[in-house]
């Protein structure tokens, strides 16, 4: 989601599932929604049936999405940036983009400083020793007179973003795209024509994606390219438009919102870094400033950061958080480096955590809930050896997953002999999703309450009870024995009716937040906007002086005085566009389409009156919940309020691998980069250097391989379920028919797939749905196989190899997401 945040200001699906029905064109790329999101896919079908929408599926495989698409385009796995920049080039060349929108709502007219440049595969500011960029080279130019951003509304200045973009994509001609992506030129041009048919006020199209884009060493930049294309076509903020990220799990959006990764706190606030020892220092670094202060200024909504942070600290430490102690800021852990999970496992494997020069011991214990590291991480041989070094391991699960039984992994995974493994494993029986209530936050940012269907069986406990009991026990130990920094634990507020098993309704209430004292109305101090103890209604009510508590500012509105809004189930649809404003609660502020200010033109009229997002009625914005100050007339503020400059970013200096996307080969590259052979793969990509982190070359591993999921299974879980095993009974390898025939591989026969990391066996599925491609003048073969199997299953007839036995530990430099989708293998008859 880093790319969407860098482009639009927030890292989430821009529109929503239902809104897909409003699209004229749907580009499904980097995802396979029919198979992986079959329920949401109904809105694709709805768009096709009711609007005659065109569905274009771009995928290395002809998938079940492709089966119902209007046009299918093959593509070489991992070459998506070239493809998307090719469409951008086509749009600019042919003038099939929404120029007025670009001028109004994007940084296309903004000038970039002289230090920016791009040459032979590298942007300026690259340090070869650290493999990092100095991003200050990519800054905006300020107007010497006004000190505001220098802007050329005509977009003709060669240093303006639009011209820089035009120049950057010049190389991506249809011929080049065909050469890099293996897509026939005619097919590519057809796709260009369909997609750019929405580059105007009348029509609107959406782009949907999922892990087929994120799981690359260039993943964030692929999504950036899509986001830029949508800005160029004027499709962001509009019903039927957007860049719609489909999350891989029912509550992964909720997990991210609530700080699922190490670098963020709830509500995407930043984890404090070591040098930020005081709240003041921290807030100074974290709160963005803007040069846009006058007309067409930016709301720069993040300027409210101190309010969000103070309220979070109050929600965390309660009465112990005072103005004098900076609301307990000192107790928050500060990070001194990268603690994303692949780094943690690397630490475990190497036996040390090197951070900012300090050399600390590796973790000796691990608590893991709701994930199966043995299955989901790349390079399983390293993982099994990493886990084998732990003293203890706690797994909270409802099945005996591979992680809990890592010591039983088959020999070929290369783990130590079980008798040599010192790890004590505790499996805590946890409840499944239907055995507990709470919310699921879906891709569309809806916090939907669900009610428990059945009690957990036997001794199984809910996650919150397990965590609460651990917390209380640890707190007791600190109380009794003291230790290093006991305040950090002792000062945490824990005021639930049942401290050992908190009611999730109470937790949700706490996340929403409340007024701690009476809050006067700034316009009329005699009135109160909230009285002490009342639940807050919106994040406009948050304060930075400790008078409000809020566990996640972004979720504010989910549990107000009106009650638990996640439980709302009204199907009233006043706009007829499927916004359902009283169905659950959608962050932010119950807004259904983010950046909806951009759905209207400079005067505040809908670009397409049949599909208005919000419109200006002379006094205020009406329609969806406006993503702008509700009474600010058109022209007062920019449409992208979370970006300091107030506009969507065609050029984004925030990412670690460049302000524009550029085509790079996967870390395991099948060819040299045809555009710049000296810089083949993403120069800023992250790799590890242990003896287990090995990467293959095409001379030994001549095929490109990709991994994916199936409709019939959910992750590594449902192989424990008989009914679903019946539907997809076992692991298979999809092989292009033309290639299989040459190799004498029969459908249903056994094959062996080997990468630099390992080797697995499976049943050959010989298919027409994968075809040899012509890439860079040579025939290129792609194969693929699904994840979902492993050595632990209820019925041994349905075990299978872990797909990630073969995948490399190479990562995107922004999100540290592994490159599961493109790696090199060889294939043999088994």
């Amino acid at each position: 989601m880093a790319s969407l945040a860098a482009t639009f200001g927030r890292g989430a699906m821009t529109n929503g599932w239902v809104d897909i029905k409003n699209a004229d064109v749907i580009l499904a790329m980097g995802g396979n929604p029919a198979e992986n999101h079959p329920c949401g896919f109904k809105w694709f079908i709805e768009a096709k049936k009711t609007r005659g929408a065109k569905l274009v599926a771009v995928d290395p495989r002809f998938t079940r999405t492709a089966a119902v698409a209007d046009l299918y385009s093959p593509i070489r796995a991992g070459s998506d940036i070239a493809y998307l920049l090719g469409i951008i080039r086509y749009a600019i060349e042919t003038g099939r983009f929404h120029k007025e929108y670009v001028q109004l709502f994007t940084n296309g007219p903004y000038l970039i400083g002289e230090k920016y440049g791009f040459d032979d595969g590298l942007f300026t500011g690259f340090d070869d020793a650290t493999k990092t960029y100095d991003k200050t080279n990519w800054g905006y130019e300020a107007d010497p007179k006004t000190k505001a951003y220098a802007v050329d509304k005509t977009m003709e200045n060669p240093r303006c973003v639009f011209q820089l973009l035009k120049k950057h994509v010049e190389r991506y001609t249809p011929e080049t795209v065909a050469r890099i992506c293996g897509t026939p030129k005619e097919t590519f041009l057809k796709v260009c024509e369909i997609v750019t048919s929405t580059g105007n006020a009348q029509r609107c199209g959406t782009i949907t994606y999922a892990l087929g884009w994120t799981q690359h060493s260039t993943g964030v930049q692929i999504i950036r390219a899509a986001a830029m294309l949508q800005l160029l076509l004027g499709n962001v903020g509009r019903p039927g438009g957007g860049v719609n990220a489909f999350r891989g799990h029912s509550n992964i959006q909720g997990a991210t919102d609530m700080a699922g990764t190490f670098e963020i706190l709830p509500g995407y606030l930043k984890t404090p870094a070591g040098p930020q020892q005081t709240l003041k220092d921290y807030l100074e670094a974290a709160t963005p400033t803007t040069l846009n202060k006058q007309a067409w200024a930016s709301m720069n909504y993040w300027q409210n950061y101190p309010k969000f942070m103070a309220s979070l600290l109050k929600a965390t430490y309660g009465k112990n958080a005072t103005k004098d102690n900076e609301f307990g800021y000192a107790w928050l852990p500060k990070v001194d480096g990268n603690y994303s999970w692949m780094y943690i496992y690397d630490d475990m494997y190497r036996g040390s955590s090197k951070r900012l020069g300090a050399d600390e011991p590796a973790p000796e214990g691990l608590i893991t809930f709701g994930m199966n590291p043995m299955g989901i991480g790349p390079n399983v041989p390293k993982m099994v050896n990493a886990l084998s070094k732990l003293k203890w391991l706690v797994v909270g699960e409802n099945y005996e997953i591979e992680t809990a039984t890592f010591w039983k992994a088959p020999k070929e995974y290369g783990g130590p002999d079980p008798s040599k493994i010192p790890t004590e494993v505790f499996q805590l029986p946890a409840s499944g999703f239907a055995e507990k209530d709470g919310t699921f936050t879906n891709s569309a940012r809806w916090l939907q309450w669900k009610w428990k269907a059945v009690d957990p069986p036997g001794n199984a406990k809910t996650d919150q009870e397990i965590l609460a009991r651990i917390f209380l026990a640890v707190r007791d130990l600190y109380k009794k024995e003291g230790g290093a920094l006991p305040e950090q634990v002792l000062n945490v507020t824990w005021s639930y009716s049942n401290p050992a098993a908190p009611d999730l309704g109470e937790v949700l209430k706490e996340i929403n937040g409340k007024a701690l004292v009476d809050i006067p109305d700034p316009k009329d101090k005699t009135k109160m906007i909230r009285t002490a103890g009342q639940q807050l209604e919106n994040f406009g009510q948050l304060q930075d002086d400790g008078s409000t508590a809020c566990g996640n500012w972004l979720h504010l509105g989910v549990y107000t005085e009106a009650g638990n809004n996640a439980q709302r189930r009204s199907t009233a649809d006043p706009t007829g566009l499927g916004m359902y404003p009283n169905w659950t609660f959608s962050w932010p502020a119950n807004r259904r389409i983010m950046y909806n200010r951009a759905s209207a033109d400079a005067e505040g009229k809908a670009w397409d009156p049949t599909r208005p997002g919000i419109v200006w009625n002379g006094e205020k914005w009406v329609g969806d919940v406006p993503d702008i100050k509700p009474d600010s007339p058109p022209g007062e503020y920019g449409a992208f309020i979370m970006n300091a400059e107030g506009v969507g970013r065609l050029f984004a200096a925030a990412l670690n691998d460049g302000p524009f996307p550029e085509h790079y080969e996967a870390v395991e590259a099948i060819i040299q980069n045809p555009l710049h052979p000296k810089v083949t793969s993403n120069p800023a990509t992250k790799k590890f250097s242990s003896d287990k982190d090995v990467y293959g070359k095409p001379d030994q591993f001549p095929l490109v391989c990709t991994t994916y999921r199936l409709t019939e299974h959910y992750h590594y879980w449902t192989k424990h379920t008989e009914v679903l095993n019946q539907l997809q009974p076992g692991f298979f390898v999809e092989i292009p028919e033309a290639y299989a025939q040459k190799q004498g591989i029969a459908n249903g026969s056994k094959v062996r797939v080997t990468s630099a990391r390992g080797s697995i066996e499976g049943v050959a599925m010989v298919t027409k749905r994968l075809r040899p491609l012509q890439v860079d003048g040579k025939e290129l073969i792609q194969i693929g196989f699904p994840i979902h199997w492993g050595y632990s299953a209820g019925d041994t007839g349905h075990t299978g190899p872990l797909a990630n036995f073969l995948t490399p530990s190479a990562m995107d430099p922004n999100t540290w997401t592994p490159e599961f989708k493109t790696f090199l293998v060889k294939l043999e008859k088994a």
Binding site: A34, E35, P38, C39, F41, K42, I45, E46, K48, K49, G52, F62, R64, T65, A66, A67, V68, D70, Y72, T711, E712, E722, V723, L724, N725, Q726, L727, Q728, P729, G730, F731, F732, N747, G748, V763, A764, M765, V766, T767, K768, R769, G797
Partner: protein, 291 residues
């Protein structure tokens, strides 16, 4: 919903007098928006308390090669090359609930197969003797012998749900809306509309599959390649095998004495010519009672 019986196996025809006014129901299957998710497969099993069946990976997405006594609803996957393109066809296979049910015609056990006034064709396990004749009478290769119960098993069109005003379980489960349920009339309208749309979308051969050789079915299917039902594993022009008709209309009324000879004679021919080979213009059998 009426559960009056229109026809019953091995009974005198015409017992359904006065049933012509009952609404015939139908499933609607739009293969062009089916994503092969198999929700309908599972819903069918769950509702009808079937399976699971032991399967193994043999190199296909299709759950089983054909229908099974514990698996009445199967999505058939077919890959097909077209000029420069590829189609991956998915079609929901199940009992078609023929207006002229060959299974019923072939069945020698009184009341073992019934056709309700609403068009649903159902096996009554209490009466079924497990002789498998219905298997041979069916032009769609549907009924299956269950070794566990010793009876025949197939889709009931969720007659238990439909009779209390619910849609069949498969319809309820389908996430894309490619399945609908209603009166045959309404479903035909829906199908025609969709075919029009497909024609406008470049599928000139799109058609509704409602084979008249069996007087139409209570499962109507929208096919993008309507000129090639066989691409979807559907018979091009299904008919009740003539041997079965003979058996039903002439031989059976002659009485039980003639049964064995007739069966051997009639089915012998059928075995030689195969089920799907039945093609062409078999004259409409005017002797059969009309609905």
């Amino acid at each position: 919903m009426s559960l009056d019986i229109r026809r019953s196996s091995a009974s005198v025809w015409g017992s359904a007098s006065g049933m012509r006014t009952a609404q015939v129901v139908s499933k609607y299957i739009d293969t062009t928006t089916c994503i092969g998710c198999k929700a309908c497969e599972v819903a069918c099993q769950e509702w009808n308390d079937l399976g699971p069946v032991a399967t193994e990976q043999v190199g296909t997405y299709q759950t089983l090669p054909t229908l099974h006594a514990e698996f009445w609803n199967l999505i058939r996957f077919n890959e097909r090359d077209f000029d420069g393109g590829l189609a991956w066809l998915m079609r929901k296979d199940q009992c078609m609930h023929c207006d002229e049910p060959g299974c019923l015609a072939a069945c020698p056990a009184p009341g073992a197969i019934v056709q309700y006034a609403n068009g649903i064709v159902d096996v009554n396990p209490d009466q079924c003797i497990g002789c498998k004749y219905c298997e041979t009478g069916c032009p769609f290769d549907v009924p299956r012998f269950s070794a566990t119960t010793g009876k025949m098993a197939k889709c009931t069109l969720c007659v238990d749900r439909v009779s209390v005003g619910l849609e069949p379980a498969c319809i309820k489960a389908c996430p894309t809306g490619c399945l609908h349920f209603g009166t045959k009339q309404d479903m035909l309208e829906l199908a025609k509309g969709r075919v029009q749309q497909l024609k406008g979308n470049g599928f000139a051969q799109a058609a509704v599959y409602d084979p008249q050789g069996v007087h139409g079915t209570s499962v109507i299917t929208v096919l993008a390649h309507g000129d090639h039902p066989e691409y979807y594993d559907l018979p091009v022009d299904p008919h009740v095998p003539w041997g079965v008709k003979l058996w039903k209309t002439i031989v059976r009324p002659l009485g039980a004495i003639a049964i064995f000879g007739a069966v051997i004679g009639a089915f012998g021919h059928y075995m030689n010519h195969g089920r799907k080979g039945v093609k062409g213009a078999d004259a409409h059998d005017a002797n059969l009672p009309d609905a």
